[in-house]
């Protein structure tokens, strides 16, 4: 009976984090490759302007890698990364407000400038984006982590420093308000 070729083991996030802590830059690059799109989707949904998305993704990874000693496996690396992304976005919006470049509401609603793409994006998505902009930060992040990333309340709670029950309440508030906005 022929033996199957051994399959190269895919390193876990934990292994890559340990390698990065040991100075392996390529481990950091692999973590970026693995999670950048999910992070970008989360940030874009949370109101990041498309023009700033790449910068925000980079800044999130930089903060995460520099603070990786604080990650103790309380949730998945990606979940932890998304919460850092939420902080990075909040800081960016605050800086934009201080600089009076774009009002907050407009900033949160900003999407790609291409009218064709905006049309294709569809009215419902646009309205959902608007609705998300009207939620509290906690409601918005809980909703996106649950509805978009498919996380359980336990993990959302661990990442956001709240209880699973509170996360559930935030989610239901968010859903209720979004449904009202979309109706």
């Amino acid at each position: 009976m022929p033996h199957a070729e051994p399959v190269a083991a895919v390193p876990t996030d934990a292994a890559l984090i340990a390698a990065w802590q040991g100075g392996d830059e390529q481990a950091a690059a692999e973590l970026v490759r693995r999670h950048a799109r999910a992070l970008a989707r989360f940030l874009a949904s949370a109101g990041a302007p498309d023009a700033d998305l790449d910068d925000l993704v980079q800044e999130t990874f930089i903060r995460a890698f520099r603070g990786v000693d604080r990650f103790r496996g309380q949730c998945r690396f990606r979940t932890w990364l998304l919460t850092i992304g939420g902080n990075v976005l909040k800081d960016a919006v605050r800086r934009a407000r201080r600089a009076k470049v774009v009002p907050l509401a407009d900033e949160l609603r900003a999407t790609d400038g291409d009218p064709h793409e905006r049309a294709v994006a569809g009215e419902a998505e646009g309205r959902l984006r608007e609705g998300l902009g009207g939620l509290t930060r906690m409601q918005r992040e809980v909703f996106l982590l649950r509805a978009q990333q498919g996380l359980e309340y336990d993990e959302i709670a661990a990442a956001l420093g709240t209880s699973p029950g509170a996360a559930r309440v935030h989610y239901h508030h968010a859903v209720k308000r979004l449904k009202e906005h979309l109706s």
Binding site: E25, Q26, A28, A29, E30, V32, R33, A36, R37, A38, A40, R41, F42, L43, A44, S45, D50, L53, D54, V57, Q58, F61, I62, F65, R66, D112, E117, A121, A124, E125, L128, R129, L132, F143, L144, A147, Q148, V175, K176, L178, K179, E180, L182, S183
Partner: protein, 144 residues
């Protein structure tokens, strides 16, 4: 449409589509290389640097500097010329050894009114053993 008519599944589907196009446009490989380059250009600071970059440390440090500065100015205004300092240097040197918690404890106590009639702190007491007035006295000694 009533808000209850929109099923969660529909909302989830919309949420999952949201941001997908923007994410697809991201050049992941370029982002990965940019992150690595930035990490290389500004490597992680030393443990001490990172500790001092913590907001709590910054607040504590700023407050202590402010208190010491205020004390120095007050001393300059009110102390008779030629009077020797009251040994504050030795205590100030010990301040560097305090933990964040201890410094915050000290600052919290300083912010609250205390019983002026309390005795001075014993020479061999640790910071944890000191009462509010004693800590106040300690702070005064730091201020000279």
């Amino acid at each position: 449409m009533n808000s209850d008519e929109l099923p969660d599944a529909k909302l989830q589907e919309l949420a999952q589509r949201l941001g997908a196009r923007a994410a697809e446009r991201l050049d992941v490989e370029r982002t990965a290389q940019a992150v690595v380059t930035r990490l290389r250009e500004a490597p992680r600071g030393s443990v001490v640097t990172r500790l001092w970059l913590q907001p709590a440390w910054l607040k504590v440090a700023a407050t202590v500097v402010l208190l010491l500065g205020t004390g120095a100015v007050t001393r300059g205004l009110w102390r008779p010329q030629g009077l020797a300092p009251a040994g504050g240097e030795a205590t100030a040197a010990g301040l560097n050894d305090l933990s964040t918690d201890q410094l915050q404890q000290l600052l919290e106590i300083v912010d609250h009114p205390t019983d002026e009639a309390a005795p001075l702190y014993p020479a061999d007491a640790s910071l944890d053993d000191l009462t509010a007035p004693q800590l106040r006295e300690l702070l005064r000694s730091l201020e000279g």
